[in-house]
Symmetry: C2
Subunit: 470 residues, 2 copies
């Protein structure tokens, strides 16, 4: 396909579009009258270049070329797709579309980033209204896939098909809105929540941070993976969506809000929602849905834990609270844990790499035990892993409890050799073994050197105890 897109209007949104198109291999021609446009878009591009390719396991296409142009006529030359992100004022939008349509290829499509206007409003007065669609993205455009695609009443199905193809090609998820409406879908929710949040702050019920916490430690985690109706379908339990509505529907009449116009909860509405929810996931039983939900929540919570962010920070703290000092047994029991769902491939087997992570966690326990802990590292010393040999003996699955038994096989001067056995907790079967060579290094010189005397003594003590064991 022709891979030239024009971006009319820069800023955070236009810049995000430009970055996504370019990283996905499209040439991008930009018009933005802001004298700072190049700098601003370069900043967005730099964030996008760092983050977007991280989502992929495969190489991305060769980057498209980004060029800046002094006129709309020049920018849209050769473009098969134009994304408009000018300020949210209808007269500016109309003037921009008129200028674009003077020279644009009649086969091209113009998508508007508007969050509020309906396509009929945008199209009013246009020479070719069917060329103009709403394609409303979400910030950051280079990471969030959602695009609300609103064709409106006056549309050409080929234009809708082409926009869908282009947006999918650059990794987005266009959702076609069935009828035009102010603010489309998502922003109606965002506005509703924003209004409630303003009341809560104004009335002193909660601060901005407490409100953010009430979202990101709770339903925000549910919505990231299932959205609204699917979450409630699961909440309805075995009886499903109809039961959920019977139970919670009437609560809408409670004085829970200052905003009171509520749709009548008629049989027709209940039937409509139940039928749509059945079409969405009626093929799955409640236990399957619950398992999907739990797997997704575990994976998201663990992802946040890896970043030390939001609910993940709480999990890190709770780990620290629960952690017990290592008992000096022979062998040491360095790991006791359950294999989480984010460690397995889609067949449910633990990924090869995660065996390495388990053994790395095991050696970290030894490090802390001998005194090569965070303070020791902060003082400029550490053990680095030089070589690992892992033998894979049995498959391991999500949900299994595993332990690792560790012996210090050698601990002399800067050299440390650990022998790990990973076992299934239920029957003691050995799942894998690992021989791990570590070298003590100075973090200043980045060269190997002997450990501090107290660490050396602790390592020697363990090596001696483990040599005489069984």
């Amino acid at each position: 396909m022709t891979k030239t897109a024009a971006i009319v209007g820069g800023g955070v949104i236009g810049g995000g579009w430009a970055a996504r198109f370019a990283i996905m291999g499209w040439d991008v021609r930009i018009f933005d009258p802001d004298p700072e446009a190049e700098r601003k878009i370069a900043e967005v591009m730099s964030g996008a270049e760092r983050a977007l390719p991280m989502l992929y396991e495969v190489p991305l296409p060769a980057r498209g070329q980004i060029t800046f142009h002094d006129s709309i006529a020049d920018a849209v030359k050769g473009a098969r797709y134009v994304q408009e992100s000018v300020p949210e004022r209808l007269e500016i939008k109309h003037a921009t579309f008129a200028e674009i349509q003077k020279t644009l290829d009649p086969e091209a499509v113009i998508g508007s980033s508007t969050s509020g206007f309906k396509p009929s409003e945008l199209q009013a007065g246009s020479a070719d209204p069917t060329q103009i669609l709403v394609t409303h993205p979400f910030n950051p455009v280079y990471l969030l896939p959602l695009v609300e695609l609103v064709p409106g009443d006056t549309h050409d199905p080929r234009a809708v098909a082409w926009a869908t193809k282009v947006l999918t090609e650059i990794g987005m998820k266009p959702i076609q809105v069935r009828a035009e409406i102010d603010a489309h879908i998502a922003d109606r929710f965002l506005e509703a929540v924003w209004r409630e949040a303003l009341w809560l702050v104004k009335d002193g019920i909660a601060t901005t941070e407490e409100i953010d916490d009430a979202i990101r430690y709770g339903f925000g985690l549910r919505w990231a993976q299932m959205g609204l109706f699917e979450t409630y379908r699961v909440a309805g339990g075995e009886a499903g969506m109809r039961h959920f509505m019977a139970q919670f529907g009437p609560a809408l009449k409670w004085p829970w809000t200052k905003l009171m116009d509520v749709p009548d909860f008629t049989d027709e509405l209940v039937d409509l929602i139940t039928a749509q929810s059945d079409a969405q996931s009626g093929h799955m039983g409640i236990r399957d849905l619950e398992k999907l939900r739990d797997n997704n929540l575990v994976a998201i919570l663990r992802a946040l834990k890896g970043q030390g962010a939001a609910a993940g920070a709480l999990l890190q703290d709770h780990d620290d609270h629960l952690r017990q000092p290592l008992e000096e047994t022979s062998p040491l029991i360095t790991v006791r844990r359950k294999v989480p769902v984010d460690w397995t491939d889609l067949n449910g087997h633990m990924n090869e790499g995660r065996y390495g992570q388990v053994f790395s966690d095991a050696s970290e326990e030894v490090m802390f035990h001998v005194g090569a802990d965070r303070a020791y590292i902060a003082a400029g010393n550490s053990y680095f892993t030089a070589e690992n040999t892992i033998k894979y003996l049995e498959e391991t699955h999500a949900g299994e409890d595993i332990i690792v038994e560790t012996k210090v096989l050698l601990g002399e001067g800067k050299k440390l050799k650990l022998g790990h056995e990973m076992k299934r907790a239920s029957d003691g079967a050995v799942l894998a073994t690992c021989e791990q060579f570590l070298l003590h290094v100075s973090l200043e010189t980045r060269k190997s050197c002997p450990p501090m005397p107290e660490v050396e003594a602790a390592v020697a003590r363990l090596a001696k105890a483990h040599a005489t064991a069984d």
Copy 2:
């Protein structure tokens, strides 16, 4: 601390509480008149046993004992914490509290799971109102950490402190609501969104599935990690929260909704929100906040990708769309990618285990290339990794582009030996090497066996080409 909790009222919520307490080492005494209570709670417990321990890297305490009791008086015996989850009818709540308080330890606290009632309503008529608090959880209680803790006007700070301590101890995040209000905080948002969603379905704007997609491919991902105000602070860019409100505040007056009562956007309200947002994260610059946001989004999106769920399914499809067949060079270039943020520890170094994953991905490319692909595996044959030896030569960081060069060192009968070199793309520095032994196995007998002739021939061809190279 005394670790006995009583659960009054089972169901999905009471069962979730029971599971969380028991898994965190508390003895749990349950009263629930439902004759099916034991079965229902066992089902919740089974889901919780599978999922909750997956969140932790450390061993959890020994499980507490769960017992069922025929009366409230018996259930609350010895309990220092009672969680009430009976139906949402005030007269049932009052009767339940009266019964609990007849025999409960005066030092104990009663938390109510109510989503709608205010503490003053719950406390009305109680012999000791200060013993009763709202502690409102979110389903699934065993995974989501949020608890809205509402003390109300009549409260004893020691009771609030004790409830906070207990909830934190079992891994939850109690957020103390500053003033009582119908539906607390989160359910006001959920109700607001539910009302809008009902309108959208009723008016034919979108189906339940399209609405769920509009959430989980878009702002749901933002809310899971930053919530509402922090997201908007970042959206405000360099000028921050005040700028965001100046830009978007007036939009509240637009005809975007059928629900029209909106707080006046006074200077006082703008000042209040700006000050709270500054207190929340004014210590961080906009670029730092953007980077945090992007890291969290990348980590969450990749977590969902691992599960093949929601926006993660889109990423899997896009990977497949972008994937190019392996060119038969010598050596093979089996991996070209960027190191994502979820592969690194908090110092930004790639985790030891992820080196193993990169090499595992590299060998999978070779497998597909020689014809040992999904269809081959589905037909009952596969290569299993028997042993990996990884030499760690240089540190690798998030955001770095890496490649892997792979040679077939040996390919004879059921034996396959691959040699991988992982290099930094920018300067070709070798970061790590891996020797990988694989065995061809029959998935039926689980024993080693020779590969199919076409796969054997392809492996032999590569081995020959790589033996004569450089």
